[in-house]
Assembly symmetry: D2
Homo-oligomer: 148 residues x 4
């Protein structure tokens, strides 16, 4: 699991979006609860796909689902109530029936991440059978990376 501690590879285009931590995200230690980072990873990849011009809703409409088959997170520093987070997302691997996203969560205005992580997704049809990532999505991702 060393990879996800690293920054995005130079070849990857990083998409950035923001999230404001609410009270409901914190726990009594005074920090954001650890499971919430996986919610923020979802925010990041949703907005990544929207920026690519290929929302997850569109994927579903085309008969593809991308359930998470693995996720991991390293918690380096703590996020606090009312922090404005910068969620960085990128594609780490694009296989035939698999996509891997990488993430970094930073406090806005800071360079050092609070957390880094990844999710691996299977590309499935609605009957949960492996199905190739659609060519149109691959093409859109390539265009997005080249524009970056």
């Amino acid at each position: 699991m060393t990879r996800e501690g690293n920054p995005a590879p130079p070849s990857a285009r990083v998409h950035v979006c923001e999230y404001r931590v609410i009270y409901g995200d914190t726990d009594q230690m005074g920090f954001a609860y650890y499971a919430n980072y996986l919610r923020w990873f979802e925010v990041g990849r949703n907005e990544y796909l929207r920026a690519v011009g290929y929302t997850y809703l569109r994927l579903e409409a085309e008969g593809i689902i991308l359930p998470v088959v693995e996720a991991g997170c390293r918690y380096l520093r703590t996020a606090h109530y009312d922090d404005l987070l910068r969620i960085e997302s990128w594609i780490e691997e694009l296989g035939r029936v698999k996509v891997r996203f990488g993430y970094r969560i930073c406090r806005n205005g800071e360079a050092e991440p609070l957390a880094t992580g990844f999710t691996v997704h299977a590309s499935l049809d609605p009957q949960s059978r492996p199905r190739r990532v659609p060519e149109s999505l691959v093409a859109a991702l390539r265009r997005f990376e080249l524009e970056g």
Copy 2:
């Protein structure tokens, strides 16, 4: 909204189940976050229906859904990490196309509630049209109340 501050009416049979508060339920004030009480109300009514012998899964299988159309909660005292909660649930009203549940959340071993609340549910078919609460559910609820 005075009703849900009151105990269950003497005519109602109260179902009791338990829930242990985790770190993820608390916020940085050191108490359980207010939205979680609505999750615990769901725990209560799920277990109520199971005790009646008519789980929500069975209702769905019979083509009935009971979405929440109104919910309310009074927060009287605070719940803390690792508290073992006693969730009390009962039926406050059983209409033709509507069910109203009442709830009390107590710390186990205490009489005074931490919170009281209610949810109102519409009885709908899968196309979201009003549909009478099934006679078999009404009969099961009546039996459950008489046994109590």
Copy 3:
């Protein structure tokens, strides 16, 4: 509970912010889970206070906490994955030791709300004793309403 079904009173200044529904907010009915609306009410009042120039963090730093003592929500229509929500928040009542917020949640671009609700907050000191809402907050709220 008729009040919170109504729009904000003409005298109140309504603050608007946005939230994008994620997968983690939905449930298997395909709609946003009912407890999440209380999270969105929190988003609304956090941003309301920020717009007033008096964040909740500042209140806490001045020794005031505003725990929720009552909350209610009417669910009129359903919110879906990837909906961009418009959260409208306003002050319904400003008492000496109590604040009541009203909320409407709409799908962006639509006039009819998905849900309406309210929260009532006690003004307490860190030892949970009632403490008057600070004059500086009252003044900031009055200025905000007049500017509206």
Copy 4:
């Protein structure tokens, strides 16, 4: 990250507890949302420590906190609404300033796991400085393993 796909090592004593999946845990794919598994890992380790006779509350009272510094989960099969889950937890590593838990989540009555995972915790004092895992906890854990 191969380790957490494996069953608990024969030397470890596995603690088992249960959790019932609610509607609020599911998403519109009809499965439990992936971040919730980290909540269930917390349920597992809380109950593990309670079984050891050394609750997390007691640790906090003794001036030790165990924040999560890394977490990972493999999602092998899907959990559904109303599933009764069996949460298996064990200690994978007990270092001087670090504890690693392993987990398996199964549907009750099934042998094949739905998910496997791990969390790594730093042992810190309230000022977030590394502090040795207390000897009394180490002794309690050793006793628990021997009794198993």
